[in-house]
């Protein structure tokens, strides 16, 4: 019964998205608004059926209906309800269903929000989105069907992957990542619509802005949450291993970030039209490619790839998307040409060009490094590895240049940077940064790369603070406003710009956390008897007790350690090893004491069975918490920036309708605008 409803909803969504896409493109061709209206309704219908499909799956999971293949694969009667529900995305078929539902949701949302606007673009946007939907519902109807009936019906299942039920963060990190990843289909659809209709000017860029920001925010939050999850769960005290799965989420983030910057050049200077379209295409292709890499099994071996149908399906779809997109770009190459005028190389335009170059080079490096084992095996027949040492060595210079630019870029004016202005903006931040470098060196910072990173961070912070401070100062002088009032006026006048600067500050905070935690980490291992204590760095760690226990879905062994410094103990940490029925290996859960200055991180490594000793890995990790704080600042800044472009601003912001800016006046007219 459940399977039948699942089949009907998946098949219905497939047929309806195919029909809707056809109608939409007929509408584009004939200009018939009736077709566009029908396609819009089809989009709502697809979302309805997708919701029915996912609702059915959640019901099957919660009701432990093991006659449904996916439930038989990941369900278990002993798994707690929360983990049962989120096991929806713990395995391949379920995560593709989740993906299909989100892409249907995004499609319905875009089509609804723009039902009376962007009439030229929307039919093609609708058609493209429905075509993407059709691909996913085809996957779900055929090679990744989660509703396949199982006979005989098993009495119980193995439960989800133990690692995915080990931490509540699993309920948060994957949905965030999916919302970011899948959302990149929307800007892609706008890019394609711009090409199809030939309206490659500013219109699609203005329409697409918030639809890039929203998935970007989710993707950023998802990546940071994933890093945090790794840190809290995997037990090695790190947060980013340059694992192909992590790289897959990072690649579209890089190109999307490049796009968020380069559209400002198009809005302001009507150039980089081709480039912007290529960036949204690349972002979308990278999300497909990342899924292909991590889901087809090609990274493990070529054989795993050829076994399943998912890999060939994805590869075929990626090829189709690329061929169609590039053909459209070539076809529209005349409309895409444009040349703006500059007065000086030292301008924000140049900074944006360099920013885009660095993001693209970063993307290329990560992609090449991730793919190289496959390339090398094909070319040389030898297995090689590309891991963290390669990625760190290659990305640190790029990252440092980006930190430099994220401070310098905002300080450079559009078109021309006059020497007086540059002196005014750069003098103090440079002086303070150099002073900070000298002070840090005097305090004993001898790791040159870290010292350099911190100096750059101070410079960039100074430049960005200047972007707040200089207009606030001018306002206070001219209008006699207080500090708070002046700051509020300045910031609210252009939320997009200042929200962006807050994101930059968040990135700086993250960079400082990453630089310090990766260079000043200290680690040791100790085997202790109960009552025995070990001193490491400034800490004393004492094993108090070792005990075992049982929870509904797992057994565990936990060790209680008193931790403190000097002679006194100030807290207890309880790292543990969990034993799940489906896994022969225990899954560790480290215990972390987080402080602003440093984290104390304990992992239980082993224990004697009679309880006489426990082996613990002790890691002292400086400034790690600032990575998560920085991520939070980024999300906050981006939300603030988006608050001027969305629903809220239109309804309540009292802003003028955003029309084409044929005659923009500098700065004052830049409400919700480009810079």
């Amino acid at each position: 019964m459940t399977s039948t409803i699942g089949y009907i909803s998946v098949g219905g969504a497939l047929l309806l998205s195919l029909a809707g896409a056809t109608l939409a493109f007929v509408g584009v061709r004939t200009g018939n608004p009736g077709m566009a209206r029908l396609a819009r309704r089809a989009t709502y219908g697809v979302f309805g059926l997708a919701t029915l499909a996912i609702g059915t799956m959640v019901y099957a999971l919660v009701a432990h209906d093991f006659s449904v293949s996916y439930v038989a694969q990941v369900g278990s009667r002993s798994t707690p309800l929360f983990y049962t529900v989120i096991s929806l995305w713990s395995s391949l078929d379920g995560s593709i269903l989740f993906w299909g539902w989100i892409v249907a949701g995004y499609s319905a949302a875009v089509v609804y929000v723009y039902r009376n606007r962007h009439r030229g673009l929307m039919p093609a946007v609708t058609g493209t989105l429905l075509a993407v939907n059709a691909f996913f519902w085809l996957l779900l109807a055929w090679p990744a069907n989660p509703f396949t009936p199982v006979w005989p019906v098993p009495a119980d299942g193995p439960g989800p992957n133990p690692l995915l039920q080990n931490h509540p963060f699993m309920g948060l990190h994957p949905p965030l990542l999916y919302l970011g990843y899948v959302g990149m289909a929307v800007p892609f659809a706008f890019g394609i619509a711009a090409l199809v209709t030939g309206k490659v000017g500013g219109d699609w860029i203005r329409a697409v802005r918030r639809w890039v920001m929203a998935p970007w925010i989710f993707l950023t939050a998802g990546i940071v949450a994933g890093a945090w999850w790794s840190y809290e769960v995997l037990g090695w005290g790190g947060y980013w291993a340059w694992d192909p799965v992590e790289n897959a989420s990072f690649l579209p983030w890089l190109t999307a970030t490049a796009f968020l910057h380069s559209i400002m050049v198009q809005e302001r200077r009507q150039t980089l039209k081709t480039w912007n379209i290529l960036l949204v295409i690349a972002t979308f292709v990278l999300t497909l490619f990342g899924t292909f890499l991590t889901r087809s099994g090609i990274l493990e071996s070529v054989h795993a790839f050829s076994e399943g149908l998912i890999g060939p399906f994805f590869l075929g779809f990626i090829a189709l998307v690329m061929i169609v997109s590039l053909a459209l770009v070539v076809w529209r190459s005349d409309e895409l040409r444009s040349e703006p005028a500059l007065d000086s190389i030292a301008s924000r335009e140049t900074a944006f060009l360099l920013n885009n170059l660095l993001f693209v080079a970063f993307t290329f490096t990560v992609l090449l490094g991730t793919m190289y084992p496959i390339l090398a095996e094909a070319a040389r027949g030898v297995k090689v590895s590309v891991g963290a040492p390669y990625f760190n060595q290659m990305s640190v210079p790029i990252a440092l240049l980006l930190i430099f630019l994220l401070g310098v870029g905002p300080a450079l004016p559009w078109r021309r940077g006059s020497p007086e202005l540059l002196r005014k903006k750069f003098l103090w931040p440079t002086a303070v940064a150099l002073l900070a470098g000298v002070i840090l060196f005097a305090l004993g910072a001898r790791h040159l790369l870290t010292l350099f990173t911190l100096t750059l961070a101070v410079l960039a912070t100074g430049l960005i603070v200047g972007e707040f401070w200089l207009p606030v100062k001018a306002r206070r002088q001219n209008h006699g406003e207080g500090l708070g009032a002046a700051l509020a006026t300045v910031v609210n006048k252009n939320r997009r710009r200042h929200g962006g600067y807050v994101v930059h500050l968040g990135v700086i905070v993250m960079a400082v956390g990453i630089a310090l935690s990766s260079t000043y980490r200290a680690e040791t291992e100790a085997t202790l008897r109960p009552g025995q204590a070990v001193a490491f760095e400034d800490y004393t760690v004492r094993l108090d007790s070792l005990y075992a226990g049982r929870e509904p879905h797992r057994d565990f062994v936990e060790a209680a350690f008193s931790v403190g410094s000097g002679g006194s103990y100030s807290g207890v940490l309880r790292p543990r090893l969990n034993y799940y029925p489906m896994s022969t290996q225990p899954i560790g859960t480290p215990a972390v004491r987080t402080r602003p200055r440093e984290d104390l991180y304990l992992s239980l490594m082993a224990y004697a069975q009679n309880g006489s000793t426990a082996t613990v890995n002790i890691i002292v990790n400086p400034m790690v918490v600032w990575i998560w704080v920085g991520g939070g600042i980024c999300v906050f800044g981006a939300l603030f920036a988006i608050s001027s472009m969305g629903f809220v601003a239109e309804r309540f912001g009292g802003r003028k309708k955003k029309t084409a800016r044929e005659t923009p006046k500098p700065v004052e007219a830049g409400v919700g605008g480009a810079d």
Partner: protein, 164 residues
Amino acid sequence: MSLTRRHVAFALLTWLPAAAVPVPAAALPQEAKPGDAPVVEAEHDPELEAQVRELASRLRCPTCRALSVQDSPSGMAQEMKDLIREQLKAGKTPEEITAYFVDRYGEWILLKPTAQGFNWTVWLLPVLLLAGGLFFVLMTARRWVEEGRARATALTEDGDEGGV
């Protein structure tokens, strides 16, 4: 997205030290008395440990997905780390120890591809792209500046936003 594979690999392959131990059915003492045993200093020879760390972070943990010997908590990695420490103590150079592991596991054990032969592609392509891109960006910016000069001479009135 970033779920299953890596973590399945992790679940299956790491945590080997405790792996040999069967699930204890509450066999352990519930409470051990914190005694007055003296505080022991963690075994810590900073110079040697730094060398071990440096070497271990360049070698792949053979049983993990993408972690180095340094980062992996698996038993295999711990043994390799102990081996590195002993060999260093015995006076072997880092090069000799690396060569030993490459000999045993193949080039695959190195997390950083050696810069030789076909491997140059993974090192040089990004640099070439960056250099070519930089050249391209500078040429573009210069072209735009020339465009600005050309328009400034062509227009009599102030073309503040010359791009339209």
